[in-house]
Symmetry: C2
Subunit: 204 residues, 2 copies
DNA sequence: GTCTATATAGTGATAGAC
DNA sequence: GTCTATCACTATATAGAC
C-alpha cells in the first residue's frame, strides 16, 4: 500500500488505543474527552475519527480485546488433578491481571457505559471465562478433591477474591507478586475444601 | 423555625440525596447531570444548590455517610472465639451490603471522582473498617484457631470476596441471601485454615 | 425555597482545506 | 491523515425575581 505524506495510520492507531486505555483507566470513560485522548496522542481531536467511528466503539474494542486475550491466554490441562488445575488458574489469573491493570480496571468499571448490545458481547466473554473456572471446580467435586456447596457461587467468590488483588497490589511494595500469589493460592485451595498448598500435605 | 410558603427544606434535602444515590449508582457520577438529579427530585436544577454547594460535595457526603454507617453498624465481640467473630463479620458484611447496593456500588466505583482531600477521608474510613476484620484474624492466629500467611492480605482477600456478592446477587433468584451467606461463611472460615462451619467440626 | 434566565465552558462529531 | 473551524448540545454554577 502506498503511503501518503504525513500518513501514520499503522502507528497512530495503536497509540490512540493506548492513550484511551490509559486515560479511561485513570479518569473513567465519561470523564475523559476525545480532546484529552487526542492531546495524549499528540494529534488534534478530529484526527481520532480516522481510527474509531466514535468514542463508544473505542471503549468497546478495548474491553472486548482484553476479554478475548484473557480467554485465549488461560490454558487448562484436564490431564492434571483438579487441585493442580485450580492452583494454576489462581496463579494465572493474578499474573495476567497484574500485567494489565488498566485494561482490568476498565473491564470492571466501565460496563455500564457500554451500549446494551456491546454490554452483552462483553458479558458473554466474561461468562465464558468464569465457566473455565467452574469446570475445574465441578471436576474437583466429582473427583472427591473439593468439598463445596454451589459451584457457581464458589466460582464468583474466587474470581472476586483474585481480581481484588489489582485494587491494592503495587510491585515494589512489601510483598512480591510471587508471595502474594502463593498466599492466594493457599486461601483458594482451602476455601474449596483442600488444605495446604499444591505440593505439601495439610497438617491440621 | 418559621416556614415560608413553598419551603420544603426538611424533605427536599433527603430526596436530593436519594436521587443522587440512585442515579450515581445507575449511571456513574460523571455521566449524571445536576439537571437529571433535579428532574428525579421534581425541581429545577438551580434548586439543588440550596442543599449542596456543588456536585462534588454531594458525592462525597453520600460516600462518607455510607462508610460511617458501615463502621458504626458492625459490633465486634471480643468475648467470642475468633472463629465465631469471623463468622459474624462475614454474615454482617454480606447482609449490610446487600441492603445498600447503590451506596456500596458508589463507594467502590466513584473513588476516583473524589477530590484528593475527600478521597483521603473516605479511604481512612475504609481502612478503619478493614482493620476491624484484621484484628479478628490476628486474634485467631494468636489463639491458634487460624492458620494463614499475612493477615493484611487475608483481610483484603476476604473483603473482596464478600463484597463481590453485590455484583451478582439479586433477591428472588435461585438462592436466598441466607444460603449464599452460609456458603461464603464456610469458604471464608476454610480460607483462613478453619475447616467446616461455625458449629460443626470439620470432617474432611 | 424555587423559579427562570444566563454566564462560561466544555462536549462529540463533522466538513473541507491541505 | 491531519489540520482548523465549526455545529449543535450539554455541562456546572450563579443571579435575581417571586
Amino acid at each position: 500500500m502506498a503511503r501518503t505524506a504525513g500518513s501514520h495510520s499503522d502507528i497512530t492507531g495503536p497509540r490512540v488505543r493506548a492513550a484511551a486505555l490509559k486515560l479511561f483507566a485513570e479518569g473513567g470513560y465519561a470523564a475523559v474527552s476525545m480532546r484529552a485522548i487526542a492531546a495524549e496522542v499528540g494529534v488534534q481531536a478530529g484526527a481520532l475519527y480516522n481510527y474509531t467511528p466514535d468514542k463508544q466503539t473505542l471503549l468497546f474494542e478495548l474491553m472486548e480485546s482484553h476479554m478475548r486475550e484473557l480467554l485465549a491466554a488461560f490454558e487448562d490441562d484436564p490431564a492434571l488433578t483438579p487441585t493442580a488445575r485450580l492452583a494454576r488458574f489462581t496463579r494465572f489469573h493474578i499474573r495476567f491481571h497484574s500485567d494489565r491493570m488498566s485494561a482490568v480496571f476498565i473491564a470492571y468499571m466501565e460496563l455500564r457505559n457500554l451500549t446494551p448490545e456491546n454490554f452483552e458481547k462483553v458479558e458473554a466473554l466474561r461468562r465464558r471465562y468464569e465457566n473455565r473456572l467452574e469446570v475445574i471446580l465441578r471436576d474437583g467435586v466429582a473427583a472427591g478433591e473439593f468439598d463445596l456447596g454451589d459451584t457457581k457461587i464458589a466460582t464468583l467468590a474466587i474470581i472476586a477474591m483474585l481480581t481484588g488483588v489489582n485494587t491494592w497490589f503495587r510491585s515494589g511494595g512489601r510483598l512480591s507478586l510471587e508471595e502474594v500469589s502463593a498466599q492466594y493460592c493457599d486461601m483458594v485451595l482451602r476455601s474449596v475444601g483442600r488444605t495446604g498448598g499444591v505440593l505439601e500435605g495439610g497438617a491440621r
